[in-house]
């Protein structure tokens, strides 16, 4: 490959950029969460430092960095230190596989607006995000504290349990789109609602061709499971942040704590991104296909490169809007719903969501099979 | 012979009816009618075999009522059954003894009655199957199958040392069979040379094999195969010195178990000599006949001597079985018409008379719960009819003329004499010793002043020694009739087998069986 070194360099740069993007989104989200929660709870929230309290985050960061680096006496230092670092990695790596916009074509080179494209994107993301469990376990064990360990156990059990429902919910999507590739999925959701099956064509022009319309049940299950996966309310049993000790990161403080936050928010972002990608057309703009956007760009800038850049920018915005909406829903839910009891949590996971997810899978498979085989 | 279903598949009917009966019995809901049902079934079975006897053609040595279906085609294994003069009477013996056994076990088996009869029927099926099978693998299947119900019969309903006895019995017989299985497989691998390519487990194809034999050398195929088979059967017979499982098994077995063991199972061994060993390995059989004759003679005398000193009635009869089976082996291996006919006849005799003895011992055991000879004495005054019947059966066992035992023993000794007067002179001592131990036992048990048990019974009305009941008389009646009938009119029974035996002897070096 002639321009391979360039590509390598650009790809590396891209990863750094995407990672930074993710990391930088966290303070914003924290601010959003604090402000949002304040509004929901009818208080002010951070409003002293900077406009609307935006600079509060920087102050917080400074505070975190300057805090005493506390290590429990009997703790396992290695694990204790490694845990927060590992908290970052899966989230970041997984997030990088998320397609955020149409590829950018500049001359002969094509640049994907995502960290890297993985053929089996879904599997990859699930696999990587599954590693988040170790963070908790390492933290819990490394702290050498009963509360930490219990929290870690609970959290990881919860994560593993809901991973099943999550995965099964996605199976419907995978079957429907016939691919593991996230970009392909996004492309498949272009245009107005239409599908062919049972020997005829169906279409509804006023609806976008989003997965949510095909997989409503799957979407619900996925979304609910995603909450559990990211250990947020109403499933934050492990932490019990509002009223108990803080779960696996009880013993943590300062910058290490911050890293856990970043990891947690990273999970939230992955969940939102996947939600967007699977069920809400990804970076696609409702009512405006990629080709149309590209043509518009070409007509505006008069060059293919321009069209490409226009398309990328527009879709990136579209993606981020949807993304933000889901993030907000995460935050909103956190401050509106009460917490489950642990056995309710497990019952919900194993006895409600898993069967429904299974049902969804079987239903989808049956319908797809019938649609391909029979004529109505 | 009409070509209806019953006549064309009568052998399968005879083999598998007991299995059906066993299943019906196993599923039968009423516990208190099991015995009656089993008796009825055994009579049906007897009827079926009588039907076979009626249609049997005794003027030919060919295999009759043949049925042959492929079973495992790849190895040429088939379901191949047929009957000829050698097996017909053993079939009859099996089916005749069955109702007698069931009736004899009426009271002695009082727990797990259903299981017992199921086992008995399965056993019958296995025994009939091994008598009728003309396919090596089929035969082996039945042969091994017969061990299983016997194992349970001794192991569940047996005496105090039943586990020891049953394990001994099982391991002894199994270890022989393993060699036989090897030999069967070896022979199956030889068969392509006579069938023209395909492997075959059919006995008729085995007969056609010419297995190389070199006299005096042990490691030739025929000799090795011969001993593999012969050992398996010798254990079953049992031939001295492989007999020690028998007394234990007999002593521990319940009465019907002993009857079927002595009556039929031991015959499986001797029958197989006639069916398998002698025709399949003619040179080896005649070359090594001295060995079997010696062992047979040793068995006769040894069994008699040892029987003489047994303190237990059942053990005594068991050792007498060893002695009698020695006669049969002797008769078979002298390889002449008298010996062989006599041996075949003696198989039936032994089945009837030793079976009868075991039944009688069972009857007395039910009353007194003792088998120790020294505790008896003076029983003849307490139970005269029992005594008379016992003495008649004893006379049959010691081969007094006009009972069945004489005919067989006489012919065997005559055959032996033709083979070698010296051997006959030794074997004839068995006649004396046989009388000695049996009469010694009769004297101790029945005669003399009243012994411990009779005295105890006289004082205790609860355990009074009542004479034979009607049921027991009915059990013994067929045995007595057979003893006298077979003693008076041996020809009526030997006629069925003479042609086959002649055929075997005349074509011993080149044996083959036609299929009718």
């Amino acid at each position: 490959m002639g321009n391979s070194s360039l590509e390598i360099i650009i790809n590396l740069a891209k990863t750094v950029v995407v990672f930074l993007m993710m990391v930088q989104a966290v303070p914003i989200l924290v601010w959003l969460e604090r402000r949002g929660s304040a509004f929901i709870q009818n208080r002010f929230g951070p409003n002293r430092v900077g406009p609307l309290g935006l600079v509060q985050l920087l102050a917080d960061a400074a505070k975190f960095l300057n805090k005493e680096d506390f290590v429990p006496d009997k703790g396992n230092r290695l694990l204790f230190y490694a845990a927060p670092v590992f908290a970052l990695i899966p989230a970041a790596v997984a997030y990088m596989a998320m397609p955020m916009s149409t590829p950018l074509k500049i001359g002969d080179s094509t640049f994907l607006i995502q960290g890297y494209e993985v053929n089996v994107g879904i599997v990859f993301i699930l696999g990587i995000s599954a590693m988040a469990v170790y963070t908790m376990l390492m933290a819990g064990f490394g702290s050498s504290s009963k509360f930490s360990l219990m929290g870690a156990m609970r959290a990881s059990a919860q994560v593993i349990s809901y991973e099943l429902a999550l995965g099964l919910a996605i199976v419907g999507v995978i079957m429907m789109y016939g691919t593991f590739n996230l970009t392909d999925m996004v492309l498949a959701q272009q245009g107005a609602f239409h599908f062919s099956g049972f020997g005829r064509e169906f279409s509804l022009s006023f609806l976008p061709n989003w997965g949510i319309f095909y997989q409503p049940l799957g979407a619900v299950i996925f979304f609910a499971a995603a909450f559990a996966e990211s250990n947020r309310l109403p499933f934050d049993l492990a932490e019990g942040e509002a009223e108990l000790v803080a779960g696996f990161h009880t013993e943590y403080g300062g910058f290490k704590m911050l890293m856990f936050f970043i990891g947690e928010y990273g999970h939230m972002m992955i969940a939102s991104g996947l939600m967007t990608t699977f069920y809400f057309g990804g970076y696609g703009i409702p009512g405006w296909t990629i080709a149309e956007v590209y043509q518009t760009g070409v007509s505006i800038f008069g060059s293919e490169t321009g069209g490409s850049i226009f398309s990328s920018v527009m879709h990136f915005l579209s993606y981020n809007v949807k993304f933000a909406i889901f993030l907000w829903i995460f935050i909103h839910v956190r401050w509106t719903l009460p917490r489950f009891r642990y056995d309710q949590l497990m019952d919900l996971g194993w006895k409600t969501m898993l069967p429904w997810a299974l049902f969804n899978t079987i239903l989808t498979a049956t319908v797809i099979f019938l649609a391909s085989q029979y004529v109505i | 012979m009409e070509n209806n279903l019953v006549s064309t598949s009568i052998l399968s009917l005879i083999i598998f009816l007991p299995i059906v009966f066993a299943i019906v019995l196993a599923l039968w809901p009423q516990k208190n009618t099991i015995r009656e049902l089993a008796l009825g079934f055994s009579l049906i079975q007897l009827g079926a075999s009588l039907f076979l006897l009626k249609d049997f053609d005794s003027s030919t040595a060919a295999l009759q009522f043949v049925e042959k279906f492929n079973w495992i085609e790849r190895f040429g294994i088939s379901y191949f059954v047929g009957v000829d003069g050698i097996s017909i009477m053993l079939i009859m013996l099996t089916t005749v003894l069955m109702p007698i056994m069931i009736l004899g076990a009426w009271n002695s088996i009082d727990q797990r009655v259903k299981d017992f009869h199921v086992a008995l029927f399965v056993l019958q099926s296995a025994m009939l199957g091994s008598f009728l099978a003309m396919d090596a693998v089929l035969f082996y299947t039945f042969w091994e199958l017969s061990l299983v119900p016997m194992y349970f019969i001794i192991g569940i309903w047996g005496g105090s040392r039943r586990i020891y006895a049953t394990v001994k019995f099982f391991i002894y017989t199994m270890s022989g069979s393993v060699l036989m299985l090897l030999a069967i497989i070896f022979m199956m691998r030889l068969t392509p040379e006579v069938t023209g390519g395909a492997m075959s487990a059919s006995l008729l194809d085995f007969y056609k094999l010419k297995i190389p034999f070199v006299g005096g050398e042990f490691f030739t195929p025929q000799t090795l195969l011969f001993f593999a088979f012969a050992l398996a059967f010798a254990i079953k017979v049992p031939l001295f010195p492989l007999h020690t499982w028998l007394p234990d098994a007999h002593v521990e077995a319940p009465t019907p178990g002993s009857v079927v063991l002595a009556g039929v199972m031991l015959k499986m061994g001797t029958y197989c000599y006639l069916r398998w060993v002698i025709p399949l390995f003619p040179e080896a059989a005649s070359h090594y006949s001295w060995l079997f004759i010696s062992l047979g003679v040793i068995g006769i005398i040894y069994g008699a001597l040892v029987a003489m000193v047994q303190p237990d009635v059942k053990k005594l009869v068991a050792y007498s079985s060893v002695s009698h089976m020695g006669y049969i082996i002797l008769g078979l291996f002298v390889l002449n018409v008298y010996g062989m006919n006599g041996a075949l006849y003696q198989m039936l005799n032994h089945g009837v008379s030793t079976g009868g003895l075991f039944l009688l011992i069972g009857m007395i055991y039910e009353r007194t719960h003792s088998r120790e000879i020294s505790k008896y004495g003076g029983l003849a005054s307490a139970m005269p009819i029992f005594t008379i019947i016992f003495i008649i059966v004893t006379m049959s066992s010691i081969a007094v003329p006009l009972t069945n035992g004489f005919v067989g023993e006489f012919l065997i000794l005559m055959g032996t004499f033709q083979y070698s007067p010296g051997v006959a002179a030794v074997a004839v001592t068995g006649v004396v010793l046989g009388a000695a131990y049996m009469l010694w036992m009769v004297k101790k048990v029945f005669f003399g002043p009243a012994g411990e048990i009779v005295k105890a019974a006289a004082h205790d009305p609860a355990h009074a020694l009542h004479d034979l009941t009607t049921r027991e008389l009915v059990v013994m009646a067929p045995i007595l009739i057979l003893i006298l009938w077979m003693g008076l009119f041996p020809n009526s029974i030997m006629d069925y087998s003479k042609v086959s035996v002649d055929h075997l002897l005349k074509n011993q070096q080149n044996y083959s069986l036609e299929v009718e």
């Binding site: - | 001994k168 040894y302 001597l305 018409v337 000794l413 004396v432």
Partner: protein, 647 residues
């Protein structure tokens, strides 16, 4: 009425009697049982008489009546029918058996009337007669053997009739087993003959008997006949198998009379006479027979001298008399043997029945030392017994005189005879005269030594009538075969006996006959010697046991060792038990213990132990340490890999 039916009735009548009585064996009605049994015998006797006269009516050469009923055993060349034949020899036996049998049955009614098992007793008796008839009528050795064993069985049952006495049951068993030893030899003889001649039929065998005399011992005929003779020694109580007969006296006395005196025990002699052409061909066998017969005659007679049981005396006397018969046939005097058989049947049956009458009258007392002077209590018994006594001691013109004299003369004069045999015979006769006179003297004559509580009485008519009939027969039956030398003086009474038997008796070869010549004077001399010796010995005995009672003891004390030897029956029983039976049982126990229990089982245990020990050994590898298992696996893998690579 055709012959076959006659023979069938003859045979079946006792069988039917046996069955009837057998099925009602619990009945104690002795009249019913006795009359059923006796009438069965009478039917048989009538048939026998009819058959006899049928024979008489035929020409001497063709005097045979055959009846074949069914094929019994037919295997290969071997064919035996249930065939029966009535000829000169068997017809005489028939008459003796049925005749004497009837009388003894009759006697038994009275003798056994108090016994609980009387019906069983009569059924056994009938069954015995049935078997005996088969024995004598059978036309082949095997058919004879059927009866041969059958009478043994009956003898066993009847000796052990009072089975609750252990000794009596043992006596029965002893009889059967001793007989079985003979039977085993008989079977061997039968095989030898069948293998040499291809038949067991008497007529065919006799026809096939080789014309030339067989020398040596291992020839088929010699060996075969020897074996048959061993069988005969068992049945007819000769040395060495005679031991059972004295013990057999444990049975009821009429049984002793019938079986152990008149009929069964003579079966051996009968068999030899039946096969006389064959035996003639085997001079060595004949020699053995003669020697054994003479020896038995003398030895049994000596034992008879010391016995105190009335029946035991008679038993040894029987053994001795049977010895005479064997001596006769051994020297080729088959006719004389047969005649002695008959006369003996009469007088010995008579004496046994007489003894029975005495025992009955003495309420089961058998010891002659406790008798004496019974003459006045039981007159008929005494006088009939005297007839028997005269006959047995060979008092001239009584039946025993003729037959015994004939035997003695033949023992001397026959080409196969010897002076030694004659001397033995005469000694035997002397001893016989002595102990029989002793018996008479101690029982009937002299002073009564009867216990005060016992009141001897004469028996009932059913018992005395048979005695009288037999006494007459014992007295006069000798006249059917009067020797020539005597008949010349008695008005030429023809020798019916010789004429009757001539066609079926093979004469000794001419060569031998011509080698010896004897004058009439020799015969007279010998006869006179023997008679004088016998009578003088009888007189001596009479004096010793009636006039000088103590003298016998003095004599006994004078020859104490010899007396003890004889008194203990030469320790033969003790010898048999000590040398054969007890060691056999002891060795059997050892055999069982060492071979079965300790060798074969231990061997098999060794196999199982080997398996178990191997298992235990391998078990140590299976120590539960799974890492070690994994190590074995990997080491195995390494081995396989190295093998694959290095190959």
């Amino acid at each position: 009425m055709n012959h076959q039916a006659l023979i069938a009735i003859l045979l079946l009548a006792p069988l039917v009697g046996f069955l009837i009585n057998g099925f009602r064996f619990r009945s104690q009605n002795y009249i019913a049982a006795g009359s059923i049994a006796t009438s069965a015998l009478i039917i048989s006797f009538i048939c026998a008489v009819i058959l006899f006269f049928e024979l008489v009516g035929m020409s001497p050469e063709s005097r045979t009546i055959k009846a074949e009923f069914f094929d019994w055993i037919a295997v290969g060349n071997f064919k035996v029918n249930a065939g029966f034949v009535v000829d000169q020899i068997s017809s005489i036996m028939l008459l003796i058996i049925t005749g004497v049998g009837t009388l003894i049955h009759l006697f038994s009614i009275g003798y056994m009337h108090h016994d609980k098992g009387v019906t069983k007793y009569f059924s056994y008796l009938n069954f015995f007669i049935f078997n005996m008839l088969i024995l004598v009528l059978g036309d082949s050795l095997l058919t004879m053997f059927v009866g041969w064993e059958g009478v043994g069985l009956c003898s066993y049952l009847l000796i052990g009739f009072w089975f609750s006495d252990s000794a009596k049951a043992a006596a029965g068993m002893k009889a059967f087993i001793t007989n079985r030893i003979g039977d085993a030899a008989f079977l061997l003889g039968l095989f030898i003959l069948f293998m040499s001649f291809g038949t067991l039929n008497f007529h065919e065998l006799n026809a096939l008997a080789p014309a030339t005399m067989e020398a040596g011992w291992m020839g088929a005929v010699t060996l075969g006949t020897l074996m048959l003779f061993i069988g005969a020694t068992g049945k007819s109580a000769q040395i060495p198998l005679y031991v059972w007969l004295p013990d057999a006296m444990a049975g009821p006395t009429p049984v002793s009379a019938l079986i152990h005196a008149a009929t069964m025990v003579t079966a051996g002699v009968y068999m030899i006479i039946r096969l006389n052409p064959l035996f003639v061909s085997a001079p060595n066998t004949m020699m053995v027979i003669a020697i054994i017969g003479a020896a038995t005659a003398v030895m049994a007679a000596t034992i008879g001298l010391t016995q105190n049981d009335i029946k035991k005396v008679l038993a040894y006397s029987t053994v001795s008399q049977l010895g005479y018969m064997f001596l006769a046939v051994g020297v080729g005097a088959f006719g004389a043997g047969m005649m002695h058989l008959m006369t003996h049947a009469f007088f010995k049956a008579l004496m046994f029945l007489g003894a029975g009458s005495v025992i009955h009258g003495m309420v089961d007392e058998q010891d002659i030392r406790k008798m004496g002077g019974l003459k006045k209590y039981m007159k008929i018994t005494h006088w009939t017994f005297v007839m028997g006594w005269l006959a047995i001691i060979g008092f001239p013109l009584f039946s025993g005189f003729f037959s015994k004299d004939e035997i003695l003369w033949n023992a001397y004069s026959s080409p196969r005879g010897h002076i030694g045999l004659w001397i033995a015979g005469v000694v035997g006769a002397m001893l016989t005269a002595f102990y029989m006179t002793r018996l008479m003297a101690l029982t009937f004559w002299g002073k009564s030594r009867v216990d005060q509580s016992v009141h001897p009485h004469e028996s009932s008519a059913s018992m005395t009538i048979p005695l009288i009939i037999l006494a007459v027969l014992a007295a006069v039956s000798g006249f059917v075969g009067v020797p020539h030398v005597i008949s010349e003086y008695l008005g030429h009474i023809p020798n019916f006996w010789e004429h009757w038997l001539e066609p079926v008796i093979r004469k000794l070869p001419e060569v031998e006959l011509q080698s010896v010549t004897h004058s009439v004077s020799e015969e007279w001399t010998l006869m006179g010697t023997s008679v004088v010796l016998a009578l003088s010995s009888a007189t001596a005995a009479f004096i010793m046991y009636t006039k000088k009672l103590g003298s016998a003891d003095k004599v006994a004390n004078a020859i104490k060792p010899v007396y003890d030897l004889i008194d203990n029956k030469y320790y033969v029983d003790e010898f048999y038990f000590g040398a054969i039976i007890n060691p056999l049982i002891a060795q059997s126990k050892k055999l069982w213990y060492y071979v079965d229990v300790n060798f074969i089982d231990k061997m098999t245990y060794a196999v199982t132990d080997f398996t178990q020990n191997t298992g235990k050994l391998v078990k140590t590898l299976q120590n539960g340490n799974m890492q070690q298992y994994a190590m074995y696996i990997s080491l195995g893998l390494v081995a396989v890999l190295s093998f694959v690579l290095m190959r």
